[in-house]
Symmetry: C2
């Protein structure tokens, strides 16, 4: 519960700080911008052509010209709208009827009811708004905290139609059991996962499960920003490629399997906050989920190349026009992110749309039925439940692209120059100790590790991983048993990994006689560009706690008997 509360508190602070970017007179938003094409399609109401309205069409056109939040289609549904003086009383059951699929879409907030039908096509966040229709909008605004400000409240008031009938209220509010829980349909999780938050689910792989080259699906770390979308049948899901010139092409998962060559790529995914708890412990408090060593995992991914799909859709991947600079991805739950187009179309980049993870259909937590895989980049760009891929001149405008997944200088406070910082794509070299086993003299002959290493006295056997971004292979892992004074090389384990570059972690092992150990075990790694890890956290501290990749130190005492 504490973790959830902190998550929401931070998100809330973010939203407050963002107000200068989202005031109604500017079209730049931390949410997805409204494509101009939406306003030139006649009715201005997208998917609801059955209810044309000249007034709302004109209004929508004006919105496109002067800013989405200043105007709303004030005239529509006037017959259903009560005055402020004599609000109509509405039963909850009636509100529930105005859910997704209904002609008119209603939501409530507190005891006030709104008909947002005309707002839906103009919603900057896209059609995720449909999820709230027929119920309470507040649980969603607690997630998308950017709504929690007066500008947005004012817009909503324009759609007021009445108040909830007092017979459906308890102490002036709708009873909590009557309110939809966006996370109610999330899947069950393996109890071995170490949960940092429940709603949304964020859970890391326990160190004890990090010892295999392939991380089993059931204990692969879960990093959700929102709820898990419900897709009962993979073929109900479509992904649309938007070319940036207004044209688009849609594919079902079955289309992808049928039209394109299938590839298998083994790749490690790592959250930018992996080892954040170590940065906090080694320097100062950081915002965000306090991951230990387990916000990382490796899987074999099966799917098709994004490059091939884009080519089929008509993107000239080998001769890109200047207005295509980024590939933006949008998930079914409204999460968004982007990568530079050069990575998206790189012949050796192995960017894929994947539908299998370790030979199984993608688990729901990992993007069923379709996700993006961007090997070598921070996992936040491998968008799950992907439903839209947009060729764009700019990065995704989501908060996850423009804010959360960035990194700052150690002197920058909690309101840094967000725009100056580069969004994280490739990650720096990283390593961690995941296991320290003490082999006592008595256990030597029965211990498999002791046999492998030929141990002849009381020893420690250490295991861990090392990984670097951009497909840069780990070439050396240095271990110190005397607090970093001297170093020895760990054994790097060989593993077959499909893909054009070294997208997967290297696992390593090391043994040392107990009598040589001092106070700390320390590990650091080197990648093929000879990048290495910082000695300590403080000089690389950033308040977001991202990219916590300084040496990993584990007290020897913890492992002693």
């Amino acid at each position: 519960m504490y973790a959830v509360a902190r998550f929401l508190r931070f998100a809330s602070r973010s939203a407050l700080r963002s107000s200068s970017h989202t005031k109604p007179t500017h079209r730049v938003s931390v949410f997805r911008e409204i494509p101009a094409a939406r306003f030139s399609s006649g009715s201005g109401r997208g998917s609801q052509p059955a209810r044309p309205s000249a007034a709302s069409g004109i209004a929508a056109l004006l919105v496109g010209a002067v800013g989405w939040a200043l105007l709303g289609p004030r005239e529509a549904h006037a017959e259903e709208r009560a005055t402020q003086e004599e609000p109509r009383k509405i039963r909850l059951s009636e509100i529930h009827e105005h859910r997704r699929g209904a002609d008119a879409l209603w939501v409530f907030k507190g005891d006030r009811v709104y008909d947002i039908t005309d707002w839906v096509p103009n919603h900057p966040g896209g059609d995720v708004i449909l999820r709230a229709a027929g119920g309470n909008v507040e649980p969603y605004w607690n997630i998308f905290t950017i709504h929690q400000k007066q500008d947005v409240y004012d817009i909503l008031e324009q759609y007021f139609v009445g108040v909830i009938d007092p017979r459906d209220l308890v102490d002036g509010r709708v009873a909590s059991e009557q309110i939809d829980d966006p996370f109610a349909t999330d899947p069950e999780r393996d109890p071995r996962l170490r949960k940092h938050s429940d709603r949304p689910c964020n859970a890391e792989t326990p160190a004890s499960e990090l010892g295999t080259f392939i991380t089993p699906n059931s204990v692969f770390y879960v990093r959700n920003h929102l709820w898990v979308p419900e897709v009962s049948d993979a073929d109900d899901h479509r992904v649309t490629v938007e070319m940036g010139d207004g044209s688009e092409k849609e594919y079902s998962v079955q289309d992808l399997r049928r039209l394109f060559k299938e590839y298998k790529v083994t790749a490690t995914l790592q959250c930018s906050g992996n080892r954040r708890a170590h940065m906090t412990a080694g320097s100062r408090p950081t915002n965000g989920l306090q991951w230990d060593v387990g916000a990382i995992g490796t899987a074999e991914w099966t799917g098709v190349r994004l490059r091939d799909v884009l080519t089929d859709a008509g993107v000239p991947v080998d001769d890109l026009p200047p207005h295509i600079k980024h590939a933006q991805f949008l998930g079914a739950e409204a999460y968004g992110a982007s990568i530079p187009i050069e990575k998206a179309v790189d012949n050796r980049g192995d960017v894929m749309l994947v539908y299998e993870m370790n030979g199984q259909p993608l688990p729901r937590d990992h993007g069923y039925p379709l996700r993006v895989l961007v090997p070598g980049n921070v996992a936040a760009r491998s968008v799950k439940w992907v439903k839209r891929i947009t060729m764009s001149e700019e990065e995704s405008t989501s908060q996850w692209q423009r804010r959360d997944y960035k990194c700052f200088g150690p002197n920058e406070g909690t309101n840094p120059d967000w725009d100056r910082a580069r969004s994280i794509q490739e990650m720096p070299v990283q390593s961690a100790i995941t296991s320290v086993e003490q082999v006592s003299t008595g256990g030597l002959k029965d211990n498999p590790a002791a046999r492998v290493y030929g141990l002849e006295e009381e020893s420690f056997v250490l295991e861990g991983y090392a990984f670097s971004g951009g497909g840069r292979e780990i070439v050396r892992v240095d271990v110190s048993v005397d607090n970093g004074r001297t170093w020895q090389q760990a054994d790097l384990l060989d593993n077959d990994a499909g893909g054009c570059k070294a997208w997967s972690w290297k696992q390593w092992r090391f043994s040392t006689p107990k009598r040589q150990t001092a106070r700390w075990f320390v590990v650091k790694a080197v990648d093929e560009a000879y990048n290495t890890q910082a000695d300590s956290f403080e000089p690389h501290y950033n308040f977001r706690g991202n990219l916590a990749s300084a040496w990993h130190r584990v007290p020897v005492q913890l492992a002693r008997d």
Copy 2:
């Protein structure tokens, strides 16, 4: 002189250590391997078909089968060969006639003369041996120190033809003024360059000349491994592309200009030993030239894409066969190196054959008339005076690929596991302070920097560079004026730089009130993959002193008045 002596001493130690890799029963050599094709061409004597010899042909075939150094063509030129008992006396003038171009090629060592005609086509080092013909072989063996061992002396003895006439000897040796100096025709160098060695020339750009985005040709650091080849006319020079299947294609510089599209790429070249002196000072003594901050420079390079040339030569660059894994480059002076083929043919790799540097023909010290440019990689792979490009399944076998340009763990001594270490290609993030200017209160109004920064009290203005390998752009430079306790961000200067990635350094500036400074100015940088620099040298020490990229610290005291 000291630097030269040290250079040769180290080279000599390297050669001695290498003996296990070069013993005659193995075909792997730290020099270029003899291609099998050379032995299947009939006479076994390559360019000298006018003097066929069945015996030497058979011998050469045997060499191909069992190792080049075991056998030599013992029967050829028997008529010119004296017995050991009654050596023929030969005048120096006669030896001089047997130089490059003559039918028979002689060298002397001490007072002994050898006819090496039959050895030349089998020389593992290629035809650089012709440079010694007609004179003393010893100056070259002092450079290519791999020759200084009994195996090689034994081979030479097989070609003995006589001794030098005592009339040409002083104290039993040829007078030094009679001996060719391989460096006699090296160009004059700008006196501002800081020389670390003369023969070969190794000289760095003084910090005072590092303040411009483009480094002028005259003060661009010089890193020569051997002498500077003499090419009077660019069109006398040819580069040959070897396809790896025995076929090859040759291009003059004029051909390259005529056949291929010209590109301009701005790129920084940096020696792997840049800042080696800082590693020595910050940890322990290191081998190699003790470069300060100036073994780095940036130029605009004009030439053609290697990818285009390879395509023209017949290499299927987009569908490489499995036996093409590396592009090896050989310079006219016998230096050799290689890069992975993926980099060589990468559409966005900008690997070029260049003939101009900053709008001028390449200076002789920088490869006139043609060099390779491998942006983003250690400069040692940008082979100068390139004359041969070989598609190969393996890396260049030169000592510069297999030994010198590698990096090791801090615990590895001077005889590390050479094969386990990866040859350096891309380099890690680097930064340096190149200038600290004190602006006194009196000078504030006249000082341009003071005007730019709006300084209002006694201050320091710092300048420097930051750079990372692989085209990874520098995104942040942190400066500390209190020994690394707190950090501020320097201003990064914008510069137009042609090329597909960020191949050029970023220059930075920073100012600070004098009253805020403590004992050390410190700089560190961050690249777009958020790689950063190590805090200190000792944990990253390697005996070669390569990739010395820890924080750069400059004592404030040095800059105080």
